[in-house]
Amino acid sequence: MCLGIPGRVTSIATADGLRMGIVDFGGVRKDVCLSYVPETEIGDYVVVHVGFAISHLDEVEALRTLEIIATMPGALAQELGPAADARFAI
């Protein structure tokens, strides 16, 4: 749960007063809260911890980081759900 997973913001909307976005983690899409990164725009890469974006990352770094995390057994499934590990399996 301490691993931040990078992903790309594909849409932004407000729900129950919170700034929310859909973030694409190499094909796995999740609702993510963007309240802690209010400057985020669509297309930005963000690092997500348990459903919350905490920081930004550029695209090259983001993709490289995702590959590294994919080598940790079960790590992506723990962070994103069972579908994630299969998708990133190397």
Partner: protein, 372 residues
């Protein structure tokens, strides 16, 4: 033993290893704080590539591992109630309590559900107003902003059927406790990059100064770790002890101010017991008075909890960096990721699981020790 050719950028990795070798003139012990870093070091065999005498000590940075047994037992007691939907990050489910674990309770019919964000738990509370939804709020400073926001939202929405079992821990007080331990042989720290994404590194500056230890904020990729090790070693050899940032691409000195504001609004600092380590002053977070109505321990009377660790498990010594998993008689035999006796064998961030997944056996480690 791993080979440097397997690295993403083997030329850069080799260059860093050459520079580390050139910098080291004496034995040093460096502790990597974060479990993600431990995983990379063990899996990539970084410790095998370092010069003789430069030792990596694996730190307590696995939130699943340090959650106190008493709270696991409380979680089980709450989860066993028929009116409760108990929600948790998945890696907490197999952590052994004194008598059972959350996964076994789920198998016996308790409503235990895995969530990937506390907001998932909040949604369940909205959708099931006749059930009590409890979220197991564990983790370091990395998960605290998320858990804080779930509580803020629960209050905004006036939810009366949502509560949190809080077991948050803070990294800097744990580092201080390790340094105060007379058995501590740590010369420098690689601080956990993602914790610093949230908190920045101001809190580490007084620690570096008081204990004269270099602290390098470091990422968890192989090249990050090699660079962090080089920065720490150069400080040690030069007799310096400052906080440096290797993880420039993700961490700023002040961290994320919005996230820190939410943490300090919802939580108050408290003393916390770390599983296997003991009580550390001001090393945890509990709900602040304004949000105390969301505290699951007061909402549910969980009664007297008497805890009992498995006698063979040496998790405490491993979390303090005094022993390695292969020192344990149960490692790989009585205790495996499928049937863990202790928490460090459960999570992918745990040191025992990192060793096991990398195929490290007692023989392999003995050979590596003999070589160095």
């Amino acid at each position: 033993m791993k080979y440097v050719d397997e690295y993403r950028d083997p030329i850069l990795a080799k260059q860093l290893i050459v520079e580390i070798n050139a910098a080291v003139t004496r034995p040093w012990s460096l502790m990597e704080v974060c479990g993600g870093q431990t995983h990379t070091i063990v899996r990539q065999g970084i410790d095998d590539l370092l010069p003789a005498g430069l030792r990596m000590v694996h730190g307590p940075g696995c939130p699943v591992c340090v959650t106190p047994l008493e709270l696991i037992d409380k979680a089980c007691a709450i989860a066993a109630r028929p009116d409760v939907i108990f929600t948790s990050y998945g890696d907490m489910l197999r952590v052994p309590g004194s008598h059972t674990d959350l996964l076994s309770l789920k198998a016996r019919g308790s409503d235990v559900r895995i969530v990937y964000s506390p907001m998932d738990a909040l949604r369940m509370a909205i959708e099931a107003p006749d059930r009590q939804v409890v979220f197991f709020a564990v983790g370091f400073e990395t998960t605290a902003p998320a858990n804080a926001m779930a509580v803020i939202q629960a209050k905004e929405l006036g939810l009366r059927n949502f509560s949190v079992l809080v077991s948050h821990v803070l990294v800097p007080p744990a580092m201080t406790a390790l340094l105060e331990d007379p058995e501590c042989g740590i010369d420098a720290f690689l601080a956990a990059g993602h914790v610093c994404t949230v908190m920045g590194w101001r809190e580490y500056e007084p620690i570096a100064e008081k204990y004269h230890v270099p602290i390098v904020v470091t990422g968890f990729e192989p090249l990050d770790l090699l660079e962090g090790i080089l920065m720490a070693v150069r400080q040690l050899e030069a007799g310096q002890a400052t906080v440096e940032n290797q993880y420039i691409r993700a961490v700023q000195r002040l961290g994320n101010a919005h996230a820190q504001e939410a943490i300090s609004r919802v939580f108050a600092v408290t003393d916390r017991t770390w599983r296997g380590v003991g009580s550390i002053p001001r090393s945890g977070l509990t709900l602040a008075a304004d949000y105390a109505q969301f505290d699951a321990t007061t909402r549910f009377d969980v009664g007297g909890i008497e805890t009992a660790e498995h006698p063979a498990c040496i998790a405490g010594d491993i979390l303090r960096g005094v022993k390695v998993p292969t020192d344990c008689t149960a490692y790989g035999t009585l205790c495996t990721p499928r049937l863990p006796l202790g928490a460090p064998m459960v999570s992918s961030e745990g040191t025992c699981a990192a060793f096991y997944n990398a195929g490290r056996g007692r023989q392999a480690v003995a050979a590596s020790t003999a070589r160095s």
